[in-house]
């Protein structure tokens, strides 16, 4: 079958989704931990998919997104490299074409995307603070000794959620400890935490945005019932969580790859052998000027696949190195 591959490499997870020509997921979508090693995670994911494919399966287009989209694009030879905001919007609209708001809360960032008549009209991402993202929930679940997947169910048992300061995670934590010591129950604290995180999200990321239903909630945190309930309570609206809520970026990238395949001949996909190719990465400081840019270089054996990180373009995306700058 003709297949389209979407890859989303984020700070926390690396996701791969394979779509059939109708845009429906083929095989189970993959959700892997990036663990600071995007190349490894990507190769692992590709290997898993390769082993499940049949003889007649052929990849006809690849899309990459996420904070390591440039890297992923170079390694696999992607046909489309798209920012995660647009990719998430594409995926949400596929699931719910009449969606007017997309709330996406991931490991280290959170976004809001405002849609009207099927196009993005406004968006925002968390800027200087990671409060209200999945990492913090993870950390608190660990501290309270609750497995993160039970966190949501626990908050459902709350009677009177406690009030926790949500402006800063560091203070939220001290506030939580205080409430614990006062004798509040665990479900009330957990539910209070979810409400604090929702307040933080709406005040920071959702500030000044026209949040209107239908609302789609996606990203890893959408798994958390407590967060879902807190959002519904705060926004006074029903919230839809798509089936593949945690791989929507990759899903969107695959949909974009499918659209792109209609416009171009062939694919840039470098084949499944990418999963076993040895890649070397290194970074160095360019000495050509006081900017001291950190240049990153990706090599496959002797061949330089890509370089980036320089402000002036001296090192080029795939260009030749300026030797003088190195010797300086």
């Amino acid at each position: 079958m003709e297949l389209y591959l979407g890859i989303d490499i984020g700070s926390v997870s690396t996701n791969l989704v394979l779509l059939d020509p109708l845009g429906e997921p083929y095989l189970a979508p993959l959700y892997l931990r990036t663990q600071g090693q995007p190349i490894k995670a990507l190769q692992k994911g590709l290997a898993i998919i390769r082993d499940q494919l049949g003889k007649g399966d052929l990849v006809c287009g690849v899309g990459a997104t996420g904070s390591a989209r440039q890297l992923a694009g170079v390694l696999v030879g992607a046909d489309v490299v798209k920012n995660e905001i647009s990719a998430h919007a594409v995926a949400a609209l596929r699931i719910l074409p009449e969606a007017r708001t997309v709330i996406e809360i991931g490991g280290q960032d959170s976004k809001i995307i405002i849609l009207r008549d099927g196009i993005v009209v406004d968006f925002a991402m968390n800027t200087v603070c990671a409060a209200g993202t999945g990492s913090f929930l993870d950390q608190q679940a660990f501290r309270l000794n609750i497995p993160i997947d039970e966190f949501g169910a626990l908050s459902g048992q709350a009677c009177t959620p406690v009030r926790i300061a949500g402006r800063c995670t560091v203070f939220a934590e001290s506030d939580m400890i205080h409430k614990q010591q006062m004798g509040h129950t665990l479900p009330d604290i957990v539910a209070g935490l979810c409400e604090a995180m929702v307040r933080n999200y709406l005040n920071n990321v959702g500030k000044g945005k026209d949040i209107e239903p239908p609302i789609v909630f996606q990203g890893g945190v959408a798994a958390n019932q407590g967060m879902r309930a807190a959002l519904e309570k705060s926004l006074q609206a029903e919230i839809a969580v798509p089936r593949y809520y945690n791989v929507m970026g990759a899903y969107g990238a695959a949909l974009l790859a499918r659209d792109q395949a209609r416009e171009q001949v062939g694919t840039g996909f470098r084949g499944w052998q990418v999963s076993t190719m040895p890649f070397q990465q290194r970074s160095f400081e360019c000495k050509a000027c006081p900017n001291a840019c950190e240049v990153i270089e990706i090599k496959q054996e002797r061949e330089v696949l890509a370089r980036w990180g320089d402000r002036c373009g001296r090192w080029g995306i795939t260009g030749e190195a300026d030797q003088a700058a190195l010797q300086h």
């Binding site: 920012n83 647009s86 991402m125 200087v128 006081p290 002036c312 373009g313």
Partner: protein
């Protein structure tokens, strides 16, 4: 007296011309870089905004090169910048760095004080010489503006934008080196000649207005080269404020009766009727102005915690609602990860493209 001054984009070219013509010996710090930021962040208060930190870094780097006097601009109104010269003077003193601070305040009517302060700077120069120096610096600023606006216009239109950038850098160097108007005219003329034949791309492109706090608009280190990112994404960027306008307003006290930003105060009404400090009102006015000119979107940049721009930011949704122009705001600080900014810019460009397509389809 070895005098230095902070960087703000290509401001150094005009100020150097002014000081040299006044018979002074300017020491130019190296271009603002990560090293500058590190120095500034180490010695500045944490809650001060990014421009102060970069200024301070510039001074310390210039000190290493032998500078003993700092020329700094002042300011009026609720923006903290007006007080930065004083704060910087104190910090330098605390650090045991003996540097004199000369502050140029906008005169705001008090010509006697302004004259006295200027006199301390220009020494024995006659007022006629001073006027000539100001005029020459002004021409340089205008030449820089001409190069920059051409760069912004052409970057998204050319097949090889990096080639254009190389030609631009060379032209900038020649403008900086020019000793008279003839040299200036030649540098600009040659630049225009060199770029004429460069191969162009076809197709419609998006136009975005860049508004916000002046330092972050003009200093590419502070704004992560936002103009360049947008340009390479195929977007024509127009600034709300150019260097020459700022120089006229802040250093010459609006002495030269040229253009200026007054019209932006009018377009800011009824959204923002008060002077909120800095260029807050102009940011709103410029956004309305760009909407009226048929621009596709507006990008606002400001230092993190910048009060005037926060006020403007909170007014912008009303402008978007009434004029249908999307805006994107960035608060900039010392973080060095450019990825988040690029992601937002790319998404913004996608948004603008989708809007344009939809409009074309609907035949609006």
């Amino acid at each position: 007296m070895k005098i230095t001054y902070p960087h703000m984009g290509n401001l150094y070219i005009a100020v150097r011309a002014l000081l040299v013509k006044l018979g002074l010996d300017p020491v130019l710090p190296p271009p603002t870089s990560r090293k500058t930021a590190l120095l500034g962040v180490r010695h500045a208060p944490e809650f001060a905004c990014f421009p102060l930190k970069l200024n301070l870094g510039n001074f310390l780097e210039a000190r290493e090169m032998g500078a003993d006097t700092v020329l700094m601009a002042g300011g009026i109104g609720p923006c903290r910048f007006g007080y930065y010269a004083e704060v910087e003077r104190e910090i330098l003193a605390d650090l045991g760095v003996p540097m004199e601070m000369v502050v140029l305040e906008p005169p705001s009517g008090d010509w006697v004080t302004f004259k006295a302060r200027a006199r301390s700077l220009v020494g024995d120069c006659s007022w006629w010489q001073v006027l000539k120096a100001i005029r020459f610096a002004w021409y340089k600023a205008r030449a820089v503006d001409a190069l920059e606006s051409k760069l912004l216009y052409l970057r998204p239109r050319l097949c090889e934008p990096l080639q254009l950038e190389a030609i631009y850098r060379e032209a900038l160097r020649r403008v900086d080196a020019a000793e008279n108007r003839r040299g200036l005219d030649l540098a600009v003329g040659d630049f225009l000649k060199d770029i004429r034949g460069l191969p162009r791309k076809s197709g419609d492109l998006l136009r975005v207005g860049l508004v916000g706090e002046i330092f972050t608009v003009l200093e590419p280190y502070a704004n992560y080269d936002i103009e360049r990112h947008l340009g390479l994404l195929g977007v024509e960027v127009t600034r709300s404020i150019f260097l020459s306008e700022w120089i006229n307003e802040h250093l010459f006290g609006g002495l030269l009766r040229v253009g200026g930003l007054d019209h932006l105060e009018e377009t800011a009404s009824p959204y923002l009727n008060a002077f909120v400090g800095g260029h807050g009102r102009e940011t709103v006015g410029a956004t309305v102005h760009f909407a009226g000119q048929g621009y596709d979107g507006v990008v606002q940049v400001a230092p993190f915690t910048c009060m005037p721009e926060i006020v403007a930011h909170s007014v912008l949704p009303a402008v978007t609602r009434d004029h249908g122009i999307p805006t994107l705001s960035f608060y900039l600080d010392e973080q060095s990860g450019v990825a988040g900014i690029v992601t937002r810019l790319e998404a913004f460009v996608d948004l603008l493209e989708a809007r344009r397509k939809k409009r074309l389809k609907e035949g609006v």
